[in-house]
Symmetry: C2
Subunit: 387 residues, 2 copies
């Protein structure tokens, strides 16, 4: 017997990048060069480790502050906002799920075994479960971060896809198309994944003005870019439909901590707070996250190191004949001279993990996380031999 909703039965879950079990210091495993999940190659700041090691038994024993008040104050200080502009989440992923939960209507299909509600038309129910319902759902670009579609499918909300231009820029009529489809939430990852392209902030501001729903700008990689969309929250702009996603996973070397946050007009934050799990972030992560934001100088040095290596890696890959998309992120989308999938497999056999996407427009490309100079050199040496 199947108990779950039909959309869950149909669902293809998100596939995270491979996480080999061994650590770099695990001598029982061959050393793996891990350039597949966009982690920061440098460790987090010492005060972050200290905050974790100094946690009190009482902080573990008791429920954590439900809205992470100390963190929200630290984030407010960092971004020159007030804490009511900020929500802390269990990784950026939770913020994405919350936004979909709060703003997007599910289709409301019923199991075949369920009694239909009064007034329910079988023909229309069948129509709804088979084809996308117009309106009420999310808008995404194509390609984009593949989790967005999975989260929409779990919620069973319609998806409107906007093909990006050849250079991965966003067509100017995107908000018009979203409005025509009656989308309630648009998700734009900026810098773009998997290309690394930075969409112009003025274009995003224009989109926010013209779009009738909430514009979520996923700034997971913003620390490696030359600009961000924070200015859209300037009160003078009066944009009450902009939600920025930030995470400590990449910029602050804390992917293992699961800590993200949202920045938006307080009306948005209040709404998201109503739907979050009551204690969504734990005491350790809150303490570490405060220390991370207060150690921004340490993190900024890692951003400089990564962006310098990004330039060098772009040049060297170009020397090897690759077409490399200009990136403002901590990864490169590159078109090698040989079959991308084969090259991915050969690199993996040589203990170098990069990311291959079996997705239209991406099958001839690899996404490579920028590593340390040594890791990048090992990748380049392997590529010289393999391609």
């Amino acid at each position: 017997m199947t108990y779950e909703r039909p959309n869950i039965t149909r669902l293809t879950p998100y596939t995270p990048g491979e996480q080999p079990a061994g650590t770099p210091t695990d001598r029982s495993q061959p050393p793996i060069i891990k350039l597949n999940t966009n982690e920061n190659p440098y460790p987090p700041a010492q005060p972050v480790l200290d905050a974790i090691r100094n946690v009190s038994p009482d902080a573990l024993r008791r429920y954590p502050p439900p809205t992470a008040s100390a963190f929200r104050q630290a984030a407010a200080d960092a971004h020159n906002l007030t804490p009511d502009h900020i929500i802390a989440t269990n990784g950026g992923d939770e913020l994405l799920r919350l936004a979909i939960t709060v703003y997007c209507e599910p289709r409301g299909t019923y199991n075949n075994t369920d009694s239909p509600p009064v007034g329910w038309d079988k023909r229309s129910a069948s129509h709804q479960s088979q084809s996308p319902t117009p309106g009420a759902g999310i808008g995404i670009t194509d390609p984009t971060y593949s989790l967005y579609e999975v989260l929409a499918a779990i919620h069973n909300t319609p998806i409107t896809r906007m093909p990006l231009n050849d250079d991965f820029s966003i067509p100017d009529d995107y908000p018009d198309r979203l409005n025509a489809a009656n989308a309630r939430l648009a998700l734009i990852v900026n810098p773009h994944a998997p290309s690394g392209r930075l969409q112009p902030i003025n274009q995003l501001a224009d989109f926010a003005q013209r779009f009738n729903g909430i514009l979520l700008i996923d700034e997971a990689y913003t620390d490696f870019a030359e600009s961000n969309a924070l200015e859209l929250l300037d009160p003078a702009r009066n944009l009450t439909n902009v939600l920025l996603l930030r995470t400590l996973s990449k910029g602050y070397s804390l992917a293992g901590l699961r800590f993200g946050y949202g920045l938006a007009h307080p009306t948005i934050i209040t709404t998201l707070n109503k739907a979050k799990d009551s204690y969504n972030t734990d005491a350790l992560a809150q303490a570490a996250a405060v220390a991370a934001l207060q150690s921004r100088d340490h993190a900024a040095k890692t951003w400089q190191a990564v962006t310098a290596e990004r330039t060098r890696l772009t040049d060297r890959l170009t020397d090897l004949g690759h077409r490399v998309h200009p990136s403002q992120s901590n990864f490169l989308l590159t078109t090698p001279t040989t079959n991308a999938k084969t090259l991915y497999q050969n690199l993996k056999a040589a203990n170098i993990l990069v990311r291959y996407f079996d997705h239209p427009r991406l099958t001839d490309k690899l996404r490579i996380t920028v590593g340390t100079p040594d890791e990048n050199n090992q990748l380049l040496n392997a590529l010289e031999k393999l391609q």
Copy 2:
């Protein structure tokens, strides 16, 4: 302009128990006796603290194991099951939300401003948004853990409420009523909150046999009870619709860590895994949770201390004229001789926090967490003066 779904606009969010900012060692605050949120009064085991303090920078820098494989093995060892019977979650709350997401259909109302889908009948849409849709939702007892209703309201799924008997036992026709309402998921907290009553395991087994949906038994407080429902997962019973919720928050003194887990037939675990956030538990919490399960003996001593104090507190409250419900949990539901709300407020003024529920059948009662002997003595002394 309102962007969110109407059910979110209407939502009254969950109210966590008060969490005073000061810690017991914070001398700038008056000492607070905190008996309001059912935390364990004793600290977690030393190996848990060691696991946290020994975390490597690399474990923080990298994404955590997505399904908490080491923890699932430790839980499998602890419960004599295989890891495919186990899902780790960000507190028990996440497991509740996942189960509702996966098994219950939302009503699928649409904003008034949205274009209705093809074939959509306005009259039926209006009906759906106003009154509960028959079927497809959750079944709960009344009273129960108040979060259940909030999670159902966020998902916008129908709720079937079953009033408990006067002694907080569950009427035997509960599964029949759930089936008649076509509920897909029944939530039973056992030991019951807020009464502390342990429902007989045989009755739960019978319910699972007769109920057409998933029976989630929330065993958040099971460590303080004389029996639990683990035997329902015995393969010989062939129950593929039972999901047990466990948490480290109470029994293992780790409410600040946010770590819970589900135990069920592998078909249920596979389904829940499809809908969870991709990295739902963090590296620190996973390491601490493994250490906690492996330090069960330490935790068991705290359970003994709490249950001994539960007996003493029950006796002393009875001496003071209270009617105390027999409890198999780490809290007591008690009917004082004076107005409960006034007594709650007077205790709070004396820096003693207990829980008062403004809910039918509970307005003359207080829920008191069992504390240390010293905390309980201070409570008893205050009650002698105040009531």
